[in-house]
């Protein structure tokens, strides 16, 4: 089982590398459980490991692997804003 500290670190990691929108201090928006699961799936797909949607040991291991500090998903927020405007 994933301990809370590990979970919050994982969410921070997902935000940092573009899989989750960064926290918005103006709205204090909470990430939804489904949103985080989907972000984990995308991260797992991108990293070439099994897509489980949960922070399993393989996922923790991949998140601990040394890496480039640029995000993997660029412009996710811009894309969402554009979609909202379009609607």
């Amino acid at each position: 089982p994933v301990v809370p500290d590990q979970y919050s670190r994982a969410v921070d990691w997902l935000s940092r590398y573009g899989y989750l929108p960064p926290p918005d201090p103006r709205t204090s928006k909470l990430q939804t459980k489904e949103g985080i699961e989907e972000a984990i799936r995308v991260m797992q797909r991108f990293g070439g490991i099994q897509e489980t949607g949960v922070i399993d040991s393989e996922t923790v291991k991949l998140m601990s692997t040394p890496r480039c500090s640029l995000p993997d998903i660029v412009g996710r927020m811009d894309l969402r804003r554009r979609r909202r405007r379009k609607r």
Partner: protein, 440 residues
């Protein structure tokens, strides 16, 4: 592949190096070698796209506009670009996409990392090719193989003959076109020949270097988030960020006050979870320290811990001690066996009793030597077992490892160079057995 949407609107690009890796952290890389590695890093891209890279002299003063399009530097932690590095491990490097911003194209390597030109640690060429991909407009790719995968993948082989994977070739050619039917360009006669192997390690005449780098520590402890390596009458100290406080050892008697004069061997040390006091085991006695001062009334006999072997014999020394972060229990090791204690409510109470069903055999921890030097909890609560100059990691709460291959204490904790490559070491528990790596 993925593109950032940005590219240079010219194909003649200039670059420069503004700082080099710290010799104390990456001693195997001279400035000349770094220059050569970077040139070959650019060549990987100019081999497949009509790009030309011209090196300019670096500006060590850090001038804002000097240095051309792509400015390479080695920096640590906060380095004035809004994207701080995080010390050793974690993030290794980053680069800014092309554009008109002042920082466009700039490529920064984390100077806290141990950079190398060999197979050990972070291969600078591999990371440089990746970052130059960003500086030219490529984003991270999920394809395998691709040099633009975000995770460090290890050395790519011979630098002078390296060819980009197809995914990366298609990406750069999408931005800048194909170079002469994708034929590698004429070899630049100015390109230096790189040594076929990493340069020899510098020799060290300092005796403390051998003491530090040959391993075989008496005790190792995680105290307040720093790791202390005790050996003889001295100790070294590695901080939370992985940096060594000093290459030179400190004297135990000058820092830990209250141990008997002439103390030249400590068997085991750990920091008690319940009150953060620090316990030292030496022979058949133990001391309790409040910060760096031994408390009054110590030493006291080890027999107070109630550690008996199956035959009823009292244990007269401790090999290793640690608190396993996953359950908060204290573990003491002696003579191939270990005992577990719950210290959560006992404080300084003199008489202790181990949990029932102990001792147990050390062999329950799969793949480690039966007699280890010491154990700590570290990182995400993982258990680290140390013996000689090797250590083994057990992920949180597990008695087995993902890989039983030991790692080097000297290289990973104490800023020591990698030893010359030798045949694969035998399993510590079954020395007659061979182990094969992937290439073997």
């Amino acid at each position: 592949y993925a593109l950032s949407g940005l590219r240079w609107h010219k194909t003649d690009l200039t670059w420069s190096i503004h700082s080099y890796p710290s010799p104390s952290i990456s001693p195997s890389l001279s400035k000349d070698l770094v220059n050569s590695i970077m040139r070959y890093g650019f060549k990987a891209w100019s081999d497949v796209a009509p790009l030309k890279f011209h090196q300019l002299p670096g500006d060590s003063s850090g001038g804002a506009t000097a240095g051309g399009d792509i400015r390479v530097s080695f920096a640590s932690l906060l380095h004035d670009d809004g994207y701080p590095f995080d010390g050793r491990g974690g993030t290794l490097a980053h680069a800014f996409f092309p554009g008109r911003d002042e920082v466009a194209g700039d490529t920064h390597f984390d100077d806290h990392e141990i950079w190398s030109y060999g197979v050990i640690k972070n291969n600078l060429f591999t990371v440089a090719v990746h970052e130059f991909g960003h500086a030219l407009g490529l984003s991270h790719s999920s394809s395998d193989p691709s040099i633009m995968r975000p995770y460090y993948q290890g050395p790519v082989g011979d630098v002078s003959t390296f060819k980009l994977p197809m995914d990366d070739r298609l990406a750069i050619q999408q931005l800048y076109g194909v170079k002469d039917a994708d034929r590698p360009g004429v070899v630049d006669p100015n390109l230096p020949r790189l040594p076929s192997r990493p340069p020899p390690k510098p020799t060290h005449s300092d005796p403390s270097f051998h003491e530090r780098c040959q391993g075989g520590f008496d005790a190792i402890a995680n105290i307040r988030g720093e790791v202390f390596f005790f050996k003889g009458s001295q100790f070294w100290r590695t901080q939370r960020d992985g940096s060594l406080v000093s290459l030179n050892p400190a004297q135990i008697k000058n820092f830990w006050r209250g141990l008997p004069p002439g103390t030249n061997k400590i068997d085991a040390v750990y920091e008690r979870k319940s009150d953060s006091k620090i316990i030292f085991f030496i022979g058949s006695e133990y001391w309790v320290f409040k910060d760096t001062e031994a408390m009054a009334g110590y030493p006291r006999p080890l027999s107070e811990w109630g550690m008996r072997r199956k035959n009823g014999q009292l244990v007269d020394r401790v090999d290793a001690a640690f608190i396993w972060a996953h359950n908060g229990k204290t573990y003491l090791f002696s003579g191939g066996e270990y005992w577990r204690f719950d210290e959560s409510r006992k404080g300084d109470q003199a008489t202790r009793q181990p949990d029932l069903d102990y001792p147990r055999k050390n062999k329950l921890w799969e793949g480690i030597p039966l007699h280890m030097d010491d154990v700590i909890s570290w990182g995400e609560g993982d258990a680290y077992f140390f013996k000689d100059n090797s250590y083994w990691v057990f992920m949180k709460g597990r008695l087995t490892q993902d890989a039983v291959t030991p790692k080097s204490i000297g290289e990973d904790w104490l800023r020591c160079p990698a030893p010359p490559s030798t045949s694969t070491a035998a399993s510590p528990r079954f020395p007659q057995e061979c182990r094969c790596d992937l290439k073997g």
